[in-house]
Structure formats: structure tokens, C-alpha cells
Amino acid sequence: MTEEVKAATAVVMGAKFWIATAIFVLVYGLIIADKIHKTILAIVGATTMIVLRIVTQEDAFHNMDLGVDWNVIFLLISMMIIINIMRPTGVFEYIAIKSAKVAKGRPFAIMAIFSVVTAVVSAFLDNVTTVLLIAPVTLLICQALDLDVVPFLITEAIASNIGGTATLIGDPPNIMIASKAQLDFMDFVYNLTPVIIVVLIAYVITIKFIFGKRLTVKEELRQRVMAMNENEAIKDPLLLKKCLAVLAVTVTGFIFHGMLHYEPATIALAGAALLLLVSGTKEPHHILAECEWATLFFFMGLFMIIGGVVKVGLIQWMAIKVLDITQGNLFGTTTVILWFSAFASAFIDNIPYVATMNPLVIDMAKQLWPGVTGLNLLHHPDLMPIWWALALGACLGGNGTMIGASANVVVCGMAEKMGKPISFKQFMLYGMPLMIESVIICHVYIWLRYYVMKI
């Protein structure tokens, strides 16, 4: 294998190579420095790649390997549209209030149920959206029960990152991996959902040990929660029924998209289109304007920047280096990818990380199996565990620190607004051990499933 690697090492390190590398390093460095908004950096980096003719505009706009992955962009836009229409129905308030009542106002029960609900909702919706929907109700419930809200917010953010890992549509890294590796919704359900269920159970048990004893509530305060009538949350029952019907159709579409040979974005866009039509939306301006355009442009910019460093061979060079380190040992490579992804994602945004790793994994595969192409290469049995390791590491790694995942950033922002700021150290104290626990579980799972049982 090493001879083949050496044979393919011919990366030409010319002027373009160094210019593209400099743009890439500079943009990523500035994103980490967090002084200029990351979306602006991504757009500036992307246009620089085009202006300096590292990639052509044709590459950037129309070539999925060297430019914008529209599958990812349209999947995200479509899910945002669906949420924007669904939000005013009050269904999310309903679910949260109902959960608190099911827990009978007992604090740990609320924490556990909110975590599980957050995880399940996150599996289908964007993590930030989920947290933005559950956290305000959490703040209200904590106020009613006179509880410190910080542990609740932290556990919800972590739960949302765990839940988001379970499906193709749950977290952007998975959407990106699915698109690049041409994996379908059910591939994720078969390969990631089982281990995420285990991780979630372990998580709830762990937070029981951490917080269980500390949380107590006066009996009379519990009555405040029990007196809430969740049915009052539903503002528009007819629209809610329509939303739930369309959501059911969309999820069914996701389940069968692989079989029907449709891309996930097609399914999501069809769902959004159907909901726009049946919801009786007269003026779509607001619904479309409320999509998170800054995030979407961040993705677009990153795709073009990565396109540049792929084209000049930087990613190929990095892939060869990774294989040098692991000596081509596949379980070793999987292990490195899983743990490196986890720690990298704990400190940097997992979106640029995965945007870089996707082509790197493909280049690695090309080095390992030079004659194989197309789906045979992308879905090579020995490559599959690497894709799953990347997804699990990148998604769960976000739990390590308060800057590791957008959901964490959002809850910390809310805590600060409520006059209860969460420090970097305080978040890490809970997040890091919980992240390591989840990655250990995933490591054991990958080893058992793909290298021992080989199923």
C-alpha cells in the first residue's frame, strides 16, 4: 500500500498551491480568532479564490466537488422554511409545557425529559432551532420552580448535539457527509441512531449522578407548573394539523429517498413547497426572510474555499500525511478520525472542519484503492466506518466546550441575558467529560460493529 501512496504523492506545490493554502489558513485562523463575523470571512475567502483564479466561477457555482454543494444548501433552506411556518402554531410551547407536567414538576425528571425531548426534536430539526424553542420554556419553568437554570440549559445544549447526530438531517456535518458520500437517510438510521440511543441513555444516567441530588423544589412551587394548561399554547390548530401532516409526508419521503433515487434536498424542498402551498401563506416574504441567511452564506463561502484547496492538491497532501501516520491501518485511521474530529470540533466550528474532512476522506480512499471509482469507492466497505467515525466525532465533539457547537453558544448567550453567565471553564467542566464518555461509547461501538462483528 505504501508504494501506491508514494506513487500518488505527486502534488505540485506551485504558486497556486501556496496562495490557496494561505487563503485557507488565513480564513480558518480568523474564524477561530472570532473578531470578524465568520460569514464575512467565508465570503471574502471564497471570492479571493475566484478572483485569484484558483477556482473558476464555473467551478465555484456549478461543480459540486469544487464549489457550492447545493444539496446541503437547499436541504437547510427547506427545513428552515418548514420551521418558520410551524413556529407560530405554538406546538413547541405545547410540547415543552406538557413535558414539564409529565415530570410532575420534579426537577430531575424535568431535566431528563427535557433532555430526551430536545434530543428527539434535534434529530429532525436544526440543533440551534431546537434549543431556541426549548430554552425559553425552560427559563419559565425554572423561574416558576425557583431553580438555577444553568444546569438545565447546559444539559439541553448537550442533548441537542447528541440527538442531532442520530439522523442525516439532524446536524449540518451529517448533511454534508451524506451529500459527499452519497449516503441516504436510512444509512444514518441503521448506523448512527442505535449508538446515539445508547449514548443518550448513558447521558441521562450520568446527569442523574451529577445533578440528581442537587435539585430540590418546594411542594407549593410545583403547583405552579401543574396549574399550567398546555392546550392554551396551541394558537392555530388548523395550521398545526397541516404542518404535522406535511412533516409526516416529508419524514416518510426521507425514509424512502434512497430507494426512490431522490436526493435529500429534493425531499426537503418538496416538503417546504407543499407546506407553503397548503398553509395559506399569503405573503412568503417573512417566512423566506427569516431563514438564517448568514449561516447559509457561511456554508456557500466555505464550500468555495475548500474547492480551492482541493483543486491545488492541499487536501490530497493532507490525506497522504494522515495515511502515513496510521500506516494505512484502517481501524487505526478510524480511531484517529473519531478522536481527532471530536477534539477538533470541541474548539473549532464543526462545519468548516467537516467541509475540509469530506474531500480529505475521499482523497484518502483514492490513495488506498487507486483503481476504484464512483460509488464503489465512496461506499467501499472499509471506508464506511471512517465516514461514521467522522460524523460521530464531529457532531459529538461539539459538546466539549461552549464554543464547540452553535447550540452551546446560544444557551450561553441566553444565560448571560438572564444575568447568569456561564464561564468557559464551567461549561467545559460538564461538557468535556460528557463528550469523552460519548466518544468512548462510539469508539467501542465502531470497533464491535465494523471490525469484530463486521455488520
Binding site: 425559553p136 427559563l139 441566553m414 438572564m418
Partner: protein, 162 residues
């Protein structure tokens, strides 16, 4: 008529480091000119007498209104006594943390229509009137502008008012 013809001279004002308790006490007793009507908002002046903000009744309402209630529709899930609980919590907060900082002012010789323009477009009920040096010399109230309009409609005012 100009802003200075209708304004009421400022006698009561808040300081940025007053507590909300001080502020509401002053709001309760402060009078609008000669009429015995409590004011709904007061200017906040720093030690040099410079206008740094405004604190109104609405700001006090906003102060007891938890931020999370702006994020979602949660009004149906509040409880009796919540308002009083929140009110106790904010007693010692400082005026500068809650005041409106971006205050629109008018010059003393601004025409009344200019003032109405600002009141309508920016939904302002109280406009601080400043002199040439930028010092606050009075307040122009929506209500007094209204009376000026009433006067004009009933032909009690010849307009132009030299």
C-alpha cells in the same frame, strides 16, 4: 410656534446610578409643569448635566418582563404573584442598565411640525428639548402638542405665533 414655546422646564431628572427604587419613587411624585399629573418618563442626566438616556414607565414594565417571554408565546403560562416576584428582584438595579440610551432630542427653535414628525415616526411621547450647547432645557410632551392642535382646530390660535 417652536419647541421651546410648548416645552416644560426640566426640574426633576434621574442620575445613571440611581436604583430603580429611587427612580420609581421620583416617577411617582414628579409633576409635569404646574399640573398635578405624574410624569411617565424622566430624562437621565450625568454629573455634567448631559443627557445620557430616558427612563419611562414602559422601561420599568420591560424590566419586570423576562427576556425569554419575548422569544416565545408564554403569556398563558405565568402565575399569580409572578409580577410582584420580578418587581422585588429588580429593585436594586441601576437606572443606566435599563434606560433607553438612544434618545431623540429636538433643538429649542425646532418648528412644531418637526417635533410631530419625530413623535409619529419614532413613536415618542416625550421629547427632550436641548439648547445650542446640547444641554437639556425642557421636555415637550405629546399631550401638550395635542392641545396645540386642539387650539388650532378651534381657531383659538392664529398660527405662526410670532
Amino acid at each position: 410656534m417652536k419647541a421651546k414655546d410648548l416645552m416644560i422646564t426640566v426640574t426633576e431628572y434621574l442620575k445613571p446610578d440611581h436604583t430603580l427604587k429611587d427612580a420609581v419613587n421620583l416617577l411617582k411624585v414628579a409633576q409635569r409643569g404646574e399640573e398635578r399629573v405624574g410624569v411617565k418618563g424622566l430624562p437621565v442626566l450625568d454629573e455634567a448635566g448631559k443627557l445620557v438616556g430616558m427612563l419611562s414607565m414602559r422601561d420599568i414594565l420591560k424590566a419586570v418582563h423576562p427576556a425569554y417571554m419575548n422569544m416565545m408565546e408564554l403569556g398563558d403560562f405565568t402565575w399569580d404573584g409572578m409580577l410582584e416576584e420580578m418587581a422585588k428582584k429588580i429593585t436594586d438595579k441601576k437606572v443606566f442598565t435599563l434606560m433607553t440610551r438612544d434618545v431623540t432630542t429636538v433643538k429649542e427653535d425646532a418648528p412644531l411640525m418637526d417635533c410631530v414628525d419625530l413623535m409619529v415616526k419614532k413613536n415618542i411621547k416625550r421629547l427632550p428639548v436641548v439648547d445650542k450647547t446640547g444641554k437639556v432645557i425642557g421636555m415637550l410632551y405629546e399631550r401638550d402638542v395635542f392641545f396645540a392642535i386642539v387650539k388650532a382646530m378651534l381657531n383659538e390660535n392664529t398660527g405662526g405665533g410670532k
